[in-house]
Symmetry: C2
Subunit: 389 residues, 2 copies
Amino acid sequence: MNSPGDVLDLISRGAAETRTDLARQTGMARSTVAQRVDALIGFGLVEETEPGESTGGRPPRLLRLNTAHNCVLGVDLGATHCRVALLDIGGKPLASCETPIQITQGPHEVLAHVDARMHELLTRANRPLESVKAIGIGVPGPVEFATGRPVNPPIMPGWHEYPIPDFFTSRYNVEVLVDNDVNVLALGERRFAYPGSAHLLFVKIGTGIGCGIVADGRLHRGAQGSAGDIGHIRVPDAPHAVCRCGNTGCLEAVAGGAALAARLSAAGTPARTGHDVVTLVNQGDAAALRLVREGGRVIGDVLAGLVNFFNPEAIVVGGVMAQVHEPLLAGMREVIYQRSLPLATHRLTVVPSRSGEEGGSLGAGRLAIDHILAPDYINRALSTGQGAA
Amino acid sequence: MNSPGDVLDLISRGAAETRTDLARQTGMARSTVAQRVDALIGFGLVEETEPGESTGGRPPRLLRLNTAHNCVLGVDLGATHCRVALLDIGGKPLASCETPIQITQGPHEVLAHVDARMHELLTRANRPLESVKAIGIGVPGPVEFATGRPVNPPIMPGWHEYPIPDFFTSRYNVEVLVDNDVNVLALGERRFAYPGSAHLLFVKIGTGIGCGIVADGRLHRGAQGSAGDIGHIRVPDAPHAVCRCGNTGCLEAVAGGAALAARLSAAGTPARTGHDVVTLVNQGDAAALRLVREGGRVIGDVLAGLVNFFNPEAIVVGGVMAQVHEPLLAGMREVIYQRSLPLATHRLTVVPSRSGEEGGSLGAGRLAIDHILAPDYINRALSTGQGAA
DNA sequence: ATAACTTCGTTCGATGATCGACGTAAGTAG
DNA sequence: CTACTTACGTCGATCATCGAACGAAGTTAT
């Protein structure tokens, strides 16, 4: 708690607004804090705003992140969509857009499309390209986070080992963070909705089923970066359901959006995708409703085990199917609270995602923001004297 | 990388043996390192040993942890046994003992027994009481780590909320760390056998089944400290097996040592405990062998899911049943490598525990050692000027 | 209005930690 | 024995941080 980066951290978290606050919280002398703040202001990351309320003496000069000159881009790539968001470093969305793409067209075409959208957003928000300080990207497949390369992504042919960051670093001269889309969603959800939770699971129920893991406040990616792949855990309910992974009885072959649609079709109500199932539920279709709730139970069965194993504080449910979260969460809770240990469920909350359609791009932006506001990144940047604004 | 604690950390990990080494690795000036080392020597934690090999100039004076004046006590409490070990702070066992106890006799009696064993070990190893710098304890139930109090432990009546550390702090004037026995085992196994693995699961298969989780090199205890309780995850194989937890179909009600014994008895071969099953397997009993392998498959089914979820580098199997690890691990691997995703199993190793009977007490000792050698603990201690040796 | 008080921010000399040059110790190579 | 190499300790210089003192800018009491 004594570096310039820590000072910035307190400001960005809203934990301190004045120099005196900072001195109290860091334990440093006021003079030292003032020097740190001056450096950060000179660096362009912090600005002084209007005077604050007096508490009986001279009013303090409030400090804020300099959101005018610093922003990040967050990108959410899906199988068939691409959402790009421009955020200031306070996390406030400035502009965003969603366009259809085919991820199967390969990295060159897709990333060029993303690049074009980025420029549009910058123009629309009237921000120069130099104000972009980092880029975060979520992709629908496993990624080696350190290098930003997808690793044998099942639904992204042509992307294996492609160095995504390189495409942008040459164009923007900033660092590019690439991660799995579910991790990015977990991060976004945590910061936007549950700032305090150190242990959180974000369960995305779309066509398939995935899970982002926040352990001790940080993303857990596992040894090969494949952690959270819960879609292919075996469930007892349908031992013969064939999964795209080649195995049978996988969770997502029973309770994923595609599986629910298939089962609904087989039962006589035509549905092609998870979206169709959602539509039917919203139209009051009893069979669809029953199926979603039953799917929730199956997912809950897996989550009950993970609750015992991981002991999270919160489970957040997102993805297409979460649009009908009432029956889905009802089914999940039913099983979780019955099957998990009381100590683990005592303070567990199971809630729908609050971040909505933009969750992915905002979470990707958050990944970028967290990176450039990290204390050691700031300390390095200040000591090497790289200008920001 | 610049505090006295970091210098000690390098020495204790064996990463640096000379002052020049330390200067290179920390980036500090040699003079600064020398001052740090002097402080640590004065504090009694480091000592100079014989001169090292010359590499063409003046031979360096090697530095080591001062193991003569510093040791820790590690305690492994089970339902019916108590193992105490005295280790020097290098982790070398100096003396140990195992005695039968009944944990049900409650904290006063059991801890008094432990205290007596501690004094015996100190006498036997000829170390003064003052050389004990910390105490680590593993107990068979959930513990609130921060306070060292068991929380509703199912097999430890009378221990609920009992402040175990207080019992010893008054007698030894050192810090006491209390954790779940499986966590302690995971810690011990990691340090003794797989120093590099950041993500490790230690699965203990005794009467029940539990799991210690090492994530990013540190123990994951979860929100309520109940993480790793995998014994009560539902398995599809025996939906009607009644578990002591009140539910049915729990993993430990199917594949735990007690369950295996019960099933073997029901099949005509009398066995009362997991131990009996182990004995039968070692005697070549075909039914017991088949049952253990089948139990391995059931556990493997659960672990396959956890491998997908957590993506560990290694799964280490310990506990009584691991004494027959050939059939057990065969069954586990069979299922894990079939059911988990290739990316996750690619570099996964499933191995028996190497720490043996003493694993618990050594791991508890390791918990204590890690605590007193932690950089920030050392920094605090040096700045407050508390003497050590 | 004015004085007294409170709080905020800055200036500046004192202090302490760290550095790096230098000197000495203790070995090897020729 | 001399030159060279490497390691360790000493000591003055330097730099970061602190804390006291001061000025700035408000509120409260008279």
